[in-house]
């Protein structure tokens, strides 16, 4: 599955970059009471609870590693997660560019994820929708957190 898109954050690139490395912020951007801890340089481990519609929410173990980091403009995120009804693994490339004369940041993301197990067999037709929904919610949560930080800093 490919998740591809662009999002503009209303803040400078350095602040957005710091935000994207902060495990506390990242866990807020993930669905349902995510727990995420920094376990090494650019390596995070934790769990998320995901449930959509008829699918009862269940806990997925999650490990995220940030690679090829070029602050504050580029990184590749390796994702590996496992839950009671399947797994997801793959990588996401994230590029941050200055926009609006440095006052805003344009994020381009391109993820290539494999989804397997029961969830892929039974829920194939819904995976794309779920990924879209989770991406949108995550980006909105990050945007909200960014605005809070900028307001505090001001």
């Amino acid at each position: 599955m490919i998740v591809d898109g662009e999002h503009v954050f209303p803040g400078p690139r350095e602040v957005v970059w710091a935000l994207l490395q902060d495990p506390e912020v990242l866990s807020k951007a993930m669905p349902g009471a995510a727990k995420l801890a920094l376990v090494g340089d650019g390596a995070y481990e934790g769990s998320i609870r995901v449930g959509v519609g008829p699918v009862t929410a269940a806990e997925w173990k999650l490990s995220v590693t940030l690679e090829d980091r070029v602050a504050p403009e580029h990184y590749v995120m390796q994702v590996d997660s496992k839950g009671p009804i399947g797994f997801t693994r793959g990588s996401a490339t994230v590029d941050l560019a200055e926009a609006d004369g440095g006052g805003a940041t344009r994020m381009r993301y391109h993820a290539d994820l494999q989804v397997g197990g029961k969830v892929a067999g039974v829920g194939q037709r819904l995976i794309d929708q779920v990924a879209k929904m989770m991406t949108q919610r995550g980006l909105n949560a990050l945007g909200g957190e960014l605005e809070r930080r900028l307001a505090e800093g001001a």
Binding site: V52, G53, P54, V55, T56, P84, I85, K118, V119, V122, G123, Q124, R125, L126, I127, D128, Q129, V130, K132, M133
Partner: protein
């Protein structure tokens, strides 16, 4: 395939249902016809701790016409609606659509309200309800409220139903003189989830100009999608081939369809436009015939 263990309740009144829901809230699932929930439980995708069976609840499957309004109990079987003369008069679009919903065996068990409350983005009935501008009666511990289809569907499997509420009745206004309807979908095999589908209701004024249009799509978004841009392209003008084409173009612009192994997003987008061009002329043809009568 066997479901995970669950507690089973079979209440006989709506009040008992709301009491059970108030007690168990999000841990409970309502069982209507079971054509989506039971497979999900057998695959153990759904593992509700409590199951509340609506089968024996009195009065939930009543169908009646009242002053130009069709009232359908939420537990009305899809097959019963399909064969009901009252539904044929009050909601002919639903009767035209129901043969596309899965297979007769499934429609014998599946309910109209169950499909609405489940809110699968690929389901036909939610899109039809949106096109018909149906109103839903919801009952909770605090009483009843009525929600229009436009506000009821909220995202992927999302509805306005609170954890302690159930859908009791669907209310549909009878087609006004000069109104028409049509449904169309494309699926790989008959009875499969559609790759895209369109349900439309239109109305013509005395001068033959479009005075109303509701175009709802399925399988092209997080839930049923009301194409307001397409309706705007039709309103106030004569329903010419150019107007229909403009509406189809508007639909292609305003949807954001998903991709899966069956169809890419671009294919679904084009298909939605093609279906609008097929469905709207049929709807307008019926509206003209209804105006002449």
């Amino acid at each position: 395939m066997k479901p995970a263990p669950f507690e089973y309740h079979r209440p006989s009144t709506v009040d008992e249902v709301t009491e059970l829901l108030a007690r168990h809230g999000p841990d409970a699932k309502l069982l209507a016809g079971g054509q989506s929930l039971v497979p999900a439980m057998n695959f153990r995708l759904a593992q509700p701790a409590v199951l509340i069976d609506l089968e024996r609840v009195a009065g939930l499957a009543e169908l009646r016409e009242e002053g130009g309004v069709l009232r359908m109990g939420a537990m009305t079987r899809q097959r019963a609606a399909e064969r009901s003369p009252a539904v044929a008069r009050g909601a002919p679009l639903l009767v035209e659509t129901l043969p596309f919903v899965a297979h007769p065996q499934i429609r014998n068990r599946g309910t109209v309200g169950g499909s609405i409350a489940h809110a699968d983005p690929a389901a036909e009935i939610p899109a039809v309800m949106l096109a018909l501008d149906a109103r839903f009666h919801l009952r909770g511990p605090g009483g009843s409220r009525t929600v229009g289809a436009g506000e009821f569907f909220t995202g992927l499997f999302g509805t306005a139903l609170e954890a302690d509420e159930l859908l009791t009745e669907v209310e549909i206004a009878a087609p006004a003189p000069g109104s028409g309807w049509a449904f169309g979908e494309v699926s790989r095999r008959h009875g499969d989830y559609a790759l895209a589908g369109v349900a439309a209701t239109v109305a013509l004024d005395a001068a033959g100009r479009c005075s109303g249009a509701r175009i709802a799509l399925l399988s092209v978004g997080e839930g049923p999608v009301l194409a307001s841009g397409a309706a705007a392209a039709l309103l106030g003008g004569e329903p010419t081939a150019d107007a229909v084409r403009a509406a189809a173009d508007a639909v292609e612009r305003e949807i954001d369809p998903p991709a899966d192994i069956h169809a890419s997003a671009a294919y679904r987008r084009q298909l939605a436009g093609v279906l609008v061009r097929r469905v709207l002329p049929r709807a307008f043809e019926r509206a003209r015939a209804a105006a002449v009568q």
